[in-house]
Each structure stands twice: as structure tokens, then as C-alpha cells.
Subunit: 193 residues, 2 copies
Amino acid sequence: MTPIDKLIVHFRKSITLTDDEAEIVGGCFNIVELKKKEILLFVGDHSSHMRFISEGCLRSYYMDREAKEHIIQFGIEDWWINDLYSYLTNTPSKQFVQAIEESIVLQIHKEKLNELYNTVPAIERFFRLKFEKAYVSLQERTINSMSKTAEEGYIEFRSKYRNIEQRVPQYMVASYLGITPEFLSKLRKNTTQ
Amino acid sequence: MTPIDKLIVHFRKSITLTDDEAEIVGGCFNIVELKKKEILLFVGDHSSHMRFISEGCLRSYYMDREAKEHIIQFGIEDWWINDLYSYLTNTPSKQFVQAIEESIVLQIHKEKLNELYNTVPAIERFFRLKFEKAYVSLQERTINSMSKTAEEGYIEFRSKYRNIEQRVPQYMVASYLGITPEFLSKLRKNTTQ
DNA sequence: GAAAAATCTTAATCTAGGTTAAGAACGATT
DNA sequence: AATCGTTCTTAACCTAGATTAAGATTTTTC
């Protein structure tokens, strides 16, 4: 199955596309191949694409004033990854998007996507639903970080993203949880076994 | 200007509606009047409406296991307020939505809104844009709470929501910022003057 | 307008998680 | 298989913000 085929299958999980529409849609995306550690989006760039992960594993993260990295999101096959904030507000990105493993990403330019909203209305529905889901999972994260202890957050992360936990280094999990690697290590001593 | 007129003006700030469409849209919303402290949405309810604040000030919040309140969002005239999570996932609400002042809210049932998406497509666009913005501001909050100290968060809150800060009690600001009222009080001694 | 309720402040003490530093374990590369 | 990178762990000490408790101030209610 080609990366484009995967994308169409992905779309068809939540919307209906005729074969003609699928062809149009598929033709709007470009393929990007990334080596491990390669950066797809730099801080300061305008994030003007929506990006679908066809293969591999990536992360988006920003650096605070003390140059510490904070991971916003991990993404694996069949997920979307981006600095949505930059994309939606047309401002320079404050995040990096980087491949953690060798990866294949499909991306569509914002202008092209806005045209697609008109030519293939189901795509507008897809992205409305997508932004709804993005909102939901971001809210879950926000509430967690407001009311859960680091240990509770870690336990939840493990049960929710066991597949990701096994693919990324521990210090990235710590960064995602908003704690130091040292403290995560301490937690694991109590939690594991 | 009636509450419905305000709503139409609000829609027309980001999308185009013919007068006929405006009439259809306006007819889909119900008016709810709330007294101070009255609760519009209870934990456990299904949040099956989108809610537009025509007048007043409300908050959405949840209670953690220790019965402490955490404010997710404030809302004033011309904003939308809801437990979006419950609305979007069709799960029982984990949040309360409560009037902080006497308020007027316009709400539309989810089923009716889904019909509207078909009869007045501009409305689907409006809500796609709305969810994008909701995502953006939630992400701003999440990043803030991950990387800013309480003091920095407070300073940002003041400059961004000065109008809200003046309408709600301080302990609610503390709850929104994720700190105790006592600590906010301490911060204010350093910050204010 | 007095009493009750709600909100805000101060101060002493406590704790979850951070910082620093050092070494151990694991992987890549030669 | 030795070297250099990267990742993980341990332990001593530190700090932002929580907790507890009490009183002060403001707002609401009768």
C-alpha cells in the first residue's frame, strides 16, 4: 500500500469519498521522507501544511527561554502532526517537528487545503472533526496536568500510549509529562515491577 | 438589540449569511436566562448544546477527587461556553457551567446544529473555524502551564483578560491559573502597586 | 444597619518535584 | 573490542507553591 493509499484509507474511516474525489485529494499531497533526527519544521518557519504520518514516529516540541525542550505531541503512523497553532494563526512556528525514527510524511499546503474544502466538501467535514478531536485530547492533557500528580500522569500515559512509550527514549516521555528525566526515573522505581 | 440579533452579528463577523439564512439560523437557538450562581450544566448531564453568551459572565469548571474546583474557562458576552469535551464525545459532562453574573445564553441542540451544517453550510465553516480557535487558545494555556511560573502566568492573564479579571473574584482567577488563592495573594503583593 | 456569608491576606510550616553531580548501562561507529 | 554518544539512575540538597490556621475586609441578606 502506497503512502497515498494509506491516507485515503485514513480519510475513509470518518468520511465518504468517491473514487474520483479520492483521486483529487490524493493528488494534493506531497511525500516527504525523513531520516532519524531530521527536522521537518523549524522554529521560525511558517507552518503552512497539514501533515499526515504514513510511517515512522515524530515529535513536536518547543524550547523555553532556558533552552529546555517541552514535547507537545508524539505522532506515529496514521496520526497527524504539526504546529497547529502556527498553521491556524499564520504566525511563525514556535515548535520544532522532528523525526524520532525514519519516517514518511504526507503534507498538503494550506492554500490547497482551503481549495479542497470547496471542491470536496467532505474534506472540510473531516477537518472539522479532526479539530474537534484535537481539542478533546488537548483538553484531556490540560486537565491532567492541572489536577494529576506526576505519578498519576505517568500511569495514565503508559496505559494510553504503551505503543509510543516503547518507541521513544524515556527522557522524551519525561518531557511530555512535564517532569525531569531524573524524577521520572525515581517514579519508575516505585511504579514498575 | 435582541439576544438573537447579537448572535447573528457574531456569526457575520467570520462568515457570510443571507438574511434568509440568518432567519433559519436564529430560529434554531433557545434563550436561557440565568441568575447569579445558577448552574447551566451539571456534572453527569450530557452536554448536547452549543452555548453562546449574549450577556453576563460564566465559568466552566470541574471538581477533582478532593472536591477542589479547577476553572477551565471564563466566558463573557460574545463568547461561547460549554463542556466541549462532553459535547464532542457524547459522554456525561465532567464539568459544571455556572453563571458568575446574571446572564443570557443562547443554545442550540447538537442534532439541530448537525442539520444546520447541511442546510446552511457557512455554519459548518463557522464551527470549523471556532474549533480551530478553541484549539489555539487551549494550546496557549497548556504551554503556559507547562513552562511559565505562576507569576508569569498571572501577569499574562492580567494583560490578556483585564476585563475578566475585574469581573470575577480573585479565588477564581487563582483556580484558573492552577494555584491557591493564598499564593495568588502573595504574588499580588509583589506584582501589584 | 447588624449579622452572616463570602472573599482576601499574612505567616509558619511542609512537600512534590527540580537541580546538580557523578557514575552506570547501553548503543553506535571505527 | 575499544571508544564515544546517548540514555538512565542514584543521591544530596534546594525551591516554588501547597497547606493550615487565623484574622481582616468586603458583600449580601434580613
